[in-house]
Structure formats: C-alpha cells, structure tokens
Symmetry: D2
Subunit: 324 residues, 4 copies
C-alpha cells in the first residue's frame, strides 16, 4: 500500500450545514500529519474540470460557524460516465492526490465507490446530508441543524396558529426518510407527523382526525414529509373531507438547508474530519466514517448507501402520547 | 365628557409579534391609573359573544417576549353588520367599559371607527401589523420582527444559493405594501426586489436580468412581494424566457408572522400602549397612536387607514447600487 | 406492589432548558395511562409546604419551547433533615401520591433516594442538568442547549476578538465536569480548553502558550471551566508571565442556564418523560431513566450519582489538532 | 475643490455589528461612481504603517451579515501625535486618496477631524458604535444589534431568575450613555434600569427597593450601566442593606459587541455608506452622515462628537409604569 502524502477533499450533492466545519477538520488534520491538501471546487465537476487549489491552515480559518460549503457543490452528469470518471482520475494523478475525502450523501458516496473501483483509488466518505438517511451512522452532518431550523420555523407558525384557530400542514424535507419530520414534530410539540416509513394501509390523516383533532385544542400543526404530494395533498383532502376546519399550508423549502451549524453538527463534523485522516493513515479505504454510540465507526460505503435506516417505533409512540 | 374608569382591550386581524408587549403595556398603564381592564378574546367576535375577562397586573406577566397574541384574534363577519356592532356595544355597556383600545391593522381600525360613530364610544387604535402600511406612523408593531425573520430566512437560503449556482425567487408578505420586500432585500444583500409600488410600465424582471444578473456573481436572490402572482410567476417567466438559468422558489409563508419580537417592536409596543392610556386620559378619541421621528403622535383613524404610505425612492436606489 | 394511580412530579436543583418539555411529557404520559398528576412547586420545599396542585393535559400546553421550569425550583435545607423528609412524605400520603418523578441533577436525585429509603416510596429520577455529569446516560436534559448557548456567545466574542488582536479567556459553567467547556471549545473553534478533568501535573496554560499561541493567528479564544479560579485566574497569569499579549476576560454566567431548548433537548426530555411513566408501570423504582446509544436505559440512582463520567480523550485530541 | 477619484475607508475604535455592511456599501457605491477604493486595515495604525489594499466589488461579497469588521480595528497611540498624522497623510498621498471615509465612534471621528484640519483632507465620518452616543443621528451602526443581543441575554436570565426567586443585576455596556441600558430594560421587561444620565441626588437603588421590589413579583431583574462600579457595586449594597434578598450578578461583557447585525443595522449601514459617497460627490467634507427622522442628514463632525444626546424622559416613565 502506497504511503499517503497528498489528499483531495470535496463536497458533493445537496449542501448541509457543518460541511465547512468538516472541510476545516479534514484540512487541518491532514496538514497536522504533514500532508498536502487540495480543495476541489463544485464536487465531481471540479475534479473533472480542474477547479482545484491547495489549502493551508489559514484557508479554513473562520469557517467553523458558516453554513453552506465554501467548496461549493454541483450535480455532475459527466461523472456518471466512465469517461467523466477517467478525466477525474487524471486530475488526481496530475496533482499527485493519493486519496480522496468525499463529504456528501447517498449519491455522492455511490459516485466515490465507482471511482474507487475503476481506478483503485483510496476513498473515505463522510456523511454530509440533512436527511440522516445513511446506514451505519447515528447521525449525519447537517441533520441536527436542519432539525433545529424546522423546529424554530414551527415554533413561529405555532404563534400564529394558536392566535387564530387553525390546522397547519407544514411540509418538511427528507427525501425518502422521515427522520426530520418525525423528530421535529416531537421537538415542536406538533400534533402529528405523516412520514413515508409509515407505509401501511392505515390512512394517517383519517387516523389523526379520528384521534380527536382539536378536541381539547384550538389549533393543530401536522408535519408532512415532502414525498407523495406533501402538505398540499393533505390540505386538499381536509378541505374536501372535513370542511369544518380552516386549513393553512406552509412549505418550508430551501431554508432548511442553510444556517450556521449547531454545536452538535460542528462537533460531529470536526470529529469525523479528523477521523477520516486517521483512517487513511491506518490504511483504510472505501469506507464511510460514521458515529455510533458516540464512538467513531467505519462502515463499508457499499453498506452505508444500500441499507435502510429504520425509524424507532418508540418515537412514533412518544409523539402520539404527547399530542393528547 | 365622561371620566374613564374602565377600558376594554382587544387584538384583531392578522396577528403580529409585539402584540403581547402592547397588551401588557395597555393593561399595566391603565391599572397604574387606577382603571379596570377587560381583556376581550378573539377580537370583535369576543366582544359580540361575551368572551371577556378582567385582567390584573399578573395577567400579563412574562408575556413581553412572546409572539402571537394571548388575546387571540379572529375575523368577524357579524361585526360587519349593524346588528353585530349593536351586540358588541351592549357588551361594552354590560361591563361598564368607557373606552376601547384596539390593536390591529387597517381593517381592525376601520371596524373600530364604525363602532365609535354608531355608538359614540371613545376608541384608541394602535398599529399592529407586520405590513407597515398605516399612514401617519413610521413603523407598526410587528414590522421590525417580520423584517428580521425574513432576513434570517434569506441568510439561510443564501448559504445554499451560493453553494450551488442558482437564482432564488423568495416570496415575502406585505399585502399591497412593499416595505417588507424592499427593506429585507437591502438587509439580506439580495440582488433585487420586485414590489407592488413600482407599478410603472417598466418590466422589473427584464430590468433585473438586463442589469447583468450573475455577471460577476454565481447566484442571485430576488425578493418578490406576494401580490400579483408572487415568486412562482416570475420563476415561470425565467424558465420560459431565460432557460439558461437554474431557478428555485421559496414562499416564506406564515412563519413571517411569528417569533419572539425584536427589541424595537417590544419598545414600540410598550411606548404605544402606555401612550394609548395617556391619550384616553387627555380626552382623546378616535385616533391612532403612532410614532413619528421617535416621538408619540396622534393620527385621526380615518386618515391612518385611508392614505397611502409611500416607499422612499432612496431605498430603491440603495438596493440597486449595492447589488453591483 | 401497589398499583400506581397517582403521581407527583417536581423539578429540583439548578434549572435547565428542557425541564418544561419533560414535565409536559410526564404529565401527558401519566394522564394517557389514566393516572392523576400532582405538580409540586419549588422542589422539595413545595412538597414539605404543600405547594401542590393537580395538572391536566392543558396545564402543560405551549410549554415545550419554554426555558426554565414552570414548577420552579429551590434549594431546601429542611429536606436535608429527617423531619423535613417526614413532612414531605406526609404530603405525599395526603394527596395519595403512589410515586414521585424527580427531574434534576446529582443533589436532587440523592435527596430522592433518601426519601425512597426512609419511606418506601417508588421514585423515578430524570437527569435534568446542564452539566452532563450523571453516570449512565449519554446526555442530560439541558446540556445540548447550554452547549449551543455557549457556542453562540463565543461566536459573538470571536467577532470582536478577530477585529482586534486579543486573547480572550471565556469562563464556562459545568461545576466539576468539563463537558461543556471541552465540547463548546470544539464547536466554537476555540484555540484551547482548560478543564478540571485534566488534573495532571501539566500546566495547561504554559502548554497552550508554548504550542505556539498566535503563531499563525492574530487572536485566540481559550475556554476555561469555572472551577479553580476560572478565567480570571488564567488572565492574571498571562498578564504577569506573558505581558506581550493583550488579554480580556468574559464570564458567561447565568445566561448559560436559560433559553428555549434545542431540538435535541426537547426530544430527549419528551422521551425520558414518557419512559419514566412506562418504568413506573413496569414496577421499576429508585432508578434514573437515561439515554444510552439512543436507547432508553434504567440506571440505579445510587450508581448514577456516585460514579464519575469521563471525558473521551478523542475530544481532547480533536481540539488540539483543529487549533493549529 | 479637487474632483474625487480615489478614496480610503477604515474602521476605528471599538468594533460594532454592521460595520461590514457599511464597508460594503461605501466600496460598492464608490465603484458605482467609477472611483477607486483603498481598504485601510487596523484603523489609523494601518494608514500610518501602510496596511492597505485595493478593494473590488467582490472584496465585500458575502459580508453584509457578518459581525465585527473585516478591516479590523486598533487603538493607535501614534496617530495621537502630529508626527503620526503626518505619516498617515503621506500614505494618503502615496495611494492618491482624495478623501477618507471613517467608520467609528467619538474618538475615531475626533481623530479624523485632526487629520482633516492639519492636512486639508476631505473626511466623511459614519457613526459606528454600539453606544449610540453621537449627537445629530437618531441611531448609530451597531446599536440596534447590541440592544437585541442584550435583550436576548436578559430573556435567558429571566428563565432562571423566575425559576428561582432572585434579584439579578445585569451589567450592560454603553460607556457614559444609558441608551442600551434603558431601552434593553424596557425590551426585556426588566424591573428597573440604573443609568448614568440619572445623576440627580436620588438614590436609584433605594428608589427601586422602596417602589416595592418583589411586592407582587417573585424575581426582579435590574439593568445597570457599566459606569460607576456597575452591577457588582449595587449587588454589594443590596447584600449589606437588604440582606433578605438573594442577589446574583451577570456582567454581559464583550459578547455585546458581536453577532450578525439586525435588519435595522444592516439597512442603516447600507444607507449611510451610500450617502457618504454621495456627500463626497456633492463636495461635502468634515461632516458625519447620520439618520434623523428616517432621512439622511449631515452633521458637522465637531458638533457630533461634542454635544450630548439626552435620553427621552418618556422612556424612563414607560419603564417605571410597566414594571408595576
């Protein structure tokens, strides 16, 4: 195995708060080892098009608290092709990169695996996504911040919901995963959460109404995952089936991705970034570094992106008890 | 003129942050005078339906920082009728209310004037609306908080907008008034604002594009007032007319109404609340108490709700210079 | 074992954000079981002096987001005596309380154990303290919020620290435990943390200076635990031993205890509150309900309050690598 | 009068949130005119030592929301001497600066006047200080943000103050001016404010105690200006003279200077920055640009720094009524 002296780092896919804290940790931990660090801009697109510059310790000063990603991110169609990945590999060779650290979600880590397999390049993945949908890690960088952002938005909506007497359907991000929806519903004291994982025959809306919406309450807030039509779909159903209720919809949208990261995300990002460099030093490759029981763990990337992470039934139970 | 010993206080129309700080000030200033205070719940609806209870100093403890309105608010169709207002008046008589303090926007103050005219009741209006569209006062209770809420949302959206390379159209509340849109665009460092007041023949979107969108910039944020189709309308135009740009839409929605009030709104609400009681003591009636040049002023309600408040051209100039 | 039909709930010791979310969960989960809930005000003091009232589902409405504790808290000298605890027990009998749920830190749970032993009363402890110093639980209610509050304060101090060229010593709460100091240092991007656990012969300050303070940096922020003289002590040492540096001190103080709880703390508090009622239903007694590996666990109170929780060396390593 | 083609901009004295928004506005408005902009680092110190570089439109991208000052600031002893100012002037000549824009407080503007008088250089001052103690402008850049920061801190302290039953003395910045103390007391719902302007024979503390501290309240928060011993002094007096009360002290310290600026401060900073360039274009010199009645005004620097700005008695009245 070749000794590592130079690495590249990039962010890919949707941006997530804490990515900068992670870039900072990767950069400084590598320099601490005496390695050289190349920052690759705009994800795979930048690796293909040579949008690359060397980073020093100072390059990441004053970034731990900033949202978004200073390396920018982009979707790359070219990288989905063998030719695109060949070009990417050639730039790695050009800069003498011995390994790559890739911060991103499902699709980004899948791309990294392709490159690793075709060109025998050591790759370390770090889970950066607000969706928390990667298997093998308790949390992903950005999830805790998005959770708090959603909660703060719902706190504000509750002010107006209780001032009037209304049902609010609030649509939350998370792609196929209901973690953000379920947990922000508990945190915000919402009355119900409608999530993709609950794909039984049970009609979640009818269930909520029948459980006695507004029996002892004058207003209700229901969080809805973006999948399957989202908040608008359920609001229309209520308007048709239960016209006695006044209904409002709020789609939180892209603001859920931004903002200064929470303490949890900054610490997680810092720990994972340092651990990625240690993993490379140990000769690890093609793994995702995650957190499990507050300890650093290594997960084969192939498992991290393929297996489903289930939602704990306890959480569903907690929400239904607390909304009485 | 009858000496005042008992007042009623209510909030009406859309809720606005700072209304609670204002209710607190009205209550304590009246009690400080030795008066009795009746809190009327759910606006005019509560005055008609006798949803009323007496307030003490403690009733408003720990409310200065809370969003929404503890008195709740509602739209009342019945109050729009002569019979409805007759019932409302009868409840005033029942409780011995010598005057009313009404916190709300345009419609609420218009309703107060009707009641005042028909039943010769002294009424003091206080400007409570995030829209800042009342004539005769530099600011309204809730406007500064909404401005900051919008700015914080756009700060978050900017994180993701600059991480990718996108144009964002963000839709902002304000009904027919562009204050929130124009000023939050300056505060958030947005590239442009499209407001109802700018109702000239000029095509604001074409103007923005031609001014050189993304010339030196990789992302753009345009704030759009909710009127006339809002953000969705402009996003669709860009998609059709300028397909080279990637466009996203965010509709901020009801969260703009909520949240803990800013220092400015709490101080404004406190000053106006105290001033309303002083105005009643002086024998004033059928006026709105406002703020002008940081001094308390009285404005005839009829003028406050009828005249338009213009947007300063200087602000439009500032935004266009700063977005170069 | 007697079937439980009625419980009391109290908060004791220092207040912590999330206590209200926990009171809410305990109350609603008990009512969900068909039990009666008595709220005991001002901790043990209120149990002794009969400062008690029944709670309904509505009693805890709109509290999930509020800091502090609606049950208030107090230090009780009388409860430290056998006679005091006898009076407390008599009030439990008077109200027919079959069990107690006690939310608090080390001292509060120790008091609960005394009562349990002397009067054979089932007691469930819930970890409510910003210090995170209870054994057997990964986190305590309030810790995550305090961590974020400290981080936000240090973010602000960094603005002024980097604008001038200064060393700031910032003093952080945590009693004998360095969790808040160590982790907020990582989160805030501070240059060093001086914590009680690092009680070796090594001089932490000299260590920090020799590691090359301000070598590549123009300003430094050092977080210091409140123990052993705190920030003032170290600032004075720098002024004497390294007079070339300009030094400032900031003691964060009581604001670290307050504020609306974070999502993590609200969810943790909600889960623990529901679990406390389930534990009672299962016949558990004299345990603390905690969280371990994101799962509910039961810990004998005697162990929770006696054993030390160590700080992970990995975190100390992360901070020293990232501050290069 | 010489036509202006090149300007220098600097920040001096204590940093204030919004300074970056102002630097951005000055830079872009000048470039909009076709002028050249030199950024001077570390205040007068940088003008003397040639710590200067040219700014483009991009130099100030993404700064509108950042606290502190990207130009840094420092106290300069050398600039207090004739020789120092001579060196500063020589660097102006070297770079061809036709005018200076100086953002800062009292001392900074006084320094600017000295330079202007000795070397016949056009200088425009912009009021940048959290203290709001400059005559001729309703507000200064940073004041609104500091007000909100203090209010948020006191909101947190109130959580813990009401959970226990305590008097808190909270010490607030503001040098010789009580604006921050008085207004944050109203905003935070504090029970009293002790300010330097109230320098009558009346004992403000005795006054507060006699007005019936904790009569109907279980906790009290008193804000105290930093002058004359501050919070510690009053806490000690209470401990001696009124030992029946439990007293705590909190000194907010340097975090009051930091943080992302509020909407008000960003808009004010943007308007003043644009207006400074317009003033230079009109041939103005040796004035401070301020805001009065929401309109841009010019104030001779000599007046701005010499005259006292009084606190409105109405505000003192409002606080004492609302704390009943």
């Amino acid at each position: 195995m070749k000794e590592i002296k130079t690495i590249g780092v990039l962010t890919s896919g949707g941006d997530a708060p804490g990515m900068n804290a992670c870039i900072r940790a990767v950069t400084r931990a590598a320099i601490f080892q005496g390695w050289k660090v190349y920052a690759i801009y705009r994800g795979w697109e930048g690796l293909i098009n040579d949008d690359i510059r060397e980073f020093s310790t100072e390059s990441v000063s004053n970034t731990v608290q900033r949202g978004g990603t200073i390396l920018k991110t982009a979707r790359s169609k070219e990288f989905l092709t063998v030719e695109g990945r060949q070009k990417a590999y050639e730039n790695m060779v050009k800069y003498g990169m011995d390994a790559l650290v890739v911060i991103g979600g499902n699709g980004s880590l899948a791309g990294a695996m392709e490159l690793a397999k075709e060109h025998d390049v050591p790759v370390i993945g770090l889970p950066g996504t607000i969706d928390n949908d990667l298997y093998g890690t308790d949390s992903t960088i950005g999830y805790d911040t998005a959770l708090n952002t959603i909660m703060e938005c719902v706190d504000k909506i509750r002010d107006t919901a209780t001032s009037h007497d209304r049902i609010f359907f609030v649509e939350v991000m998370g792609r196929d995963a209901g973690f953000l929806t379920q947990n922000s519903a508990i945190a915000a004291g919402a009355e119900a959460a409608i999530i993709p994982e609950d794909n039984t025959d049970i009609d979640q809306l009818a269930n909520f109404i029948n459980r006695g919406i507004r029996k002892s309450k004058n207003s209700s807030i229901v969080l809805v995952s973006e999948k399957d039509g989202g908040a608008m779909h359920y609001a229309e159903r209520v308007r048709k089936e239960y016209p006695q209720f006044e209904v409002k919809v709020s789609i939180l949208g892209h603001l859920q991705r931004g903002g200064t990261p929470t303490a949890y995300d900054r610490i997680l990002a810092s720990r994972l970034g340092v651990a990625a460099i240690e993993a490379l030093q140990e000769g690890q490759r093609n793994i995702m570094v995650g957190i499990k029981d507050d300890q650093i763990v290594y997960v084969p990337i192939t498992r991290a992106i393929k297996l489903d992470k289930p939602i704990d039934k306890e959480l569903i139970n907690v929400l239904s008890i607390l909304s009485i």
